[in-house]
Subunit: 206 residues, 2 copies
């Protein structure tokens, strides 16, 4: 028999739930927390709490924001209203912004179609994208000319791009996808800014 | 300019402080927390809190324990009192217990001598080890026959072993070190149980 310290095991268990953190790493992190100063652990606990309390999804583009209403990008009057860039995750927006090659509006799907994981079109913000396009066409606002798909260059991204190209074909808008300057199999979130700028420039009309 | 979400950045910052967690990984973990259910984040926050509140150092061997007084190993009447096994960290005890090859008492140094990081003998529980040995020799308790050093097989472990061999030479006790079945340069915490059992069996008298 061995001495198990229940509170320590619970912290190891919590760390193990995080993506890419195995048992050994979780133990190392739990030891670090156990040895750290109280002000670090209080900061850490407060940061976890505030992320859940303060961050909302923007009601227009669905990125994360601390604003009560529309996000930083949706309220920015210096952006084009006739171009949408569709991304899988909020983190992708920061990458695209760093490239400086896009000055339109964003739309966050919160994932990509992945039948193996049971993620279908209804689990993503696709309906919301379509109603956004529709309302912008009928509300006397500037109608949308182009939707750029900045999706990951993998099977799920490809599937989602094909699905969206078909779903948006009823509208008179150009649907494009950023060029495969993004390495095949890679994630948008990990690409350098110049490659991403090039990929936006060389987008292919679908 | 880009939209920074302050509460998100603070959580990324907290994760980045953990050992072996870089900026990208910290962002991934923060996104996971942001997307996770409230009951997970509450469990996680509570686990961090309780690890700090409930875990003490054993006043005898200095391992971590939730007991108010002596730890599980120090109160166990089925263990030999005349043998000590000295380890760097509490995690090492669990590894040694898994090997099943040691049934004496433990003593945790909480580190190893490392002049480059400014860790000297006074920063470790070495004085406490010596007074433990002394009091056990004079209190009419069973005197200690052997001290086994189960230290990491690296420069810090070697330095600490030499220091302890010298410091304990004034007593009539055998000081030994577990055999180098542990790969050179490796950490005790990562070794399989059979290798560790063999290393205990083949310990070398210093």
């Amino acid at each position: 028999m061995m001495d198990k310290i229940p509170s320590f095991e619970r912290l190891v268990e919590s760390f193990s739930r995080l993506p890419g953190i195995g048992k050994k790493t979780a133990q190392r992190l739990a030891y670090y927390v156990l040895r750290s100063k109280n002000n670090f652990t209080e900061e850490f606990r407060e940061a976890i709490k505030q992320v859940k309390e303060l961050i909302n999804e923007c009601p227009t583009c669905y990125t994360y924001t601390e604003n009560e209403g529309d996000c930083y990008y949706c309220v920015d009057v210096d952006r084009r209203n006739d171009m949408f860039c569709v991304v899988e995750d909020p983190a992708d927006i920061q990458q695209l912004e760093s490239s400086g090659a896009f000055k339109g509006r964003y739309h966050v799907l919160h994932g990509a179609i992945n039948p193996l994981d049971g993620v279908g079109p209804d689990d993503l913000r696709i309906k919301q994208l379509i109603s956004r396009i529709k309302s912008q066409a009928t509300d006397g606002e500037e109608p949308i000319k182009e939707v750029i798909l900045a999706l990951d260059a993998n099977l799920e991204g490809d599937t989602t791009a094909l699905y969206l190209a078909k779903a948006l074909s009823e509208f008179d808008i150009q649907v494009s996808r950023i060029a495969h300057g993004v390495p095949i199999g890679g994630h948008i979130d990990y690409v350098d800014h110049r490659t991403l700028g090039k990929a936006l420039e060389n987008r292919i009309v679908l």
